[in-house]
Symmetry: C2
Subunit: 202 residues, 2 copies
């Protein structure tokens, strides 16, 4: 247990290796060390990603009071489908998948969609704080190649010339919702640490 | 509060008037009195309807220890879509609706689907017990007329010649998943009450 309680370490509670890889790459750019941990927690049904993420974080806070940790919830919201699949993106991916989404989008002129990521950060003695990242884009007309993670093969960010799946991790992090939310988290963490250090030694 | 604690009364916690009407019609056939109550409770994400319904019932049990009550969770599971929309039937209905389901089913030869209802019953001093009802059928090729409740206009039970939406409430209760689960609940309640009465006066 000592290892994960190192004060320079941030624990990311997630069962997804993909999400962890993306986030820890950004953490490194901030000079921060991130480790992954899986934990059995209850996930609620809600149309608000923030509510879902906060509910997860509150359960973990009771178990890991002395830990700096994050949880994330994300989803893809498609305009022509009234926001579907939204908070249930992961279930929808496991059942109808990208081919189901493309079938639903057949003939739709409005291809607009956005990816949203909400990260909730816990800092000991400070409580919880949430950070949001959004990436706007469009739903492609076919399944693109590359890294087959979730909806990446059918989502093209605005101002990009290819889908997420066709980008290197570095390229994806220039656009992605997750990169945006985690950059906010890490900037915040560095700011509060420098403030604390400033008070201690300044 | 006295009113809902009448021992011959069963409280159905649901926000749906349609579900309540169907269930209370069956309750009447058993000579039982059912009332509806809405309550703010947390609903979890799970692929098991039983888990979702039990989680709801456990929250209510803490608040209504002396009440005989039921909660229900239901969903439609479509074979060709790997069980989608399943436990998220209500969210999927609100976003892509029946026309979305028909779009997903376009060209699918296997039209098989089932409706499932899980009712969790709480009886004071006895705890929780769950009852399941299943109705097998097929997904129609178009939206049928009649009572526009949920997926009823696109679901035709096996051995029926029309969709749920085109049936009278009495007809629907001859087939429906909800009728089956609630009949089990009421038979059980009558059985335990006659046992208790038998011991008291026999």
């Amino acid at each position: 247990m000592k290892r994960i309680e190192d004060e320079n370490r941030i624990v990311f509670f997630t069962s997804s290796k993909f999400k962890f890889e993306e986030a820890s790459r950004i953490a490194q750019n901030f000079g921060l060390d991130m480790i992954r941990k899986s934990e059995n927690i209850i996930e609620i049904q809600s149309e608000s990603l923030e509510e879902i993420a906060l509910f997860k974080a509150r359960q973990l806070m009771k178990r890991y009071r002395n830990l700096t940790f994050v949880v994330e919830d994300d989803g893809i919201f498609i305009e022509a489908l009234n926001g579907f699949p939204g908070p249930y993106s992961s279930y929808v991916y496991r059942t109808i998948g990208n081919s189901g989404i493309l079938k639903l989008m057949k003939g739709e002129v409005n291809r607009g969609a956005l990816f949203k990521s909400v990260v909730v950060l816990h800092v000991p003695n400070m409580g919880l704080k949430s950070f949001t990242g959004i990436c706007k884009g469009t739903i492609a007309k076919s399944i693109h190649h590359g890294r087959m993670f979730g909806y990446d093969p059918i989502f093209k960010p605005l101002k990009a010339d290819k889908c997420f799946s066709e980008m290197t991790p570095e390229e994806k992090n220039l656009f992605s919702h997750r990169a945006k939310s985690f950059k906010k988290v890490f900037s915040f963490l560095i700011k509060i640490r420098s403030t604390i250090n400033g008070e201690d030694y300044g």
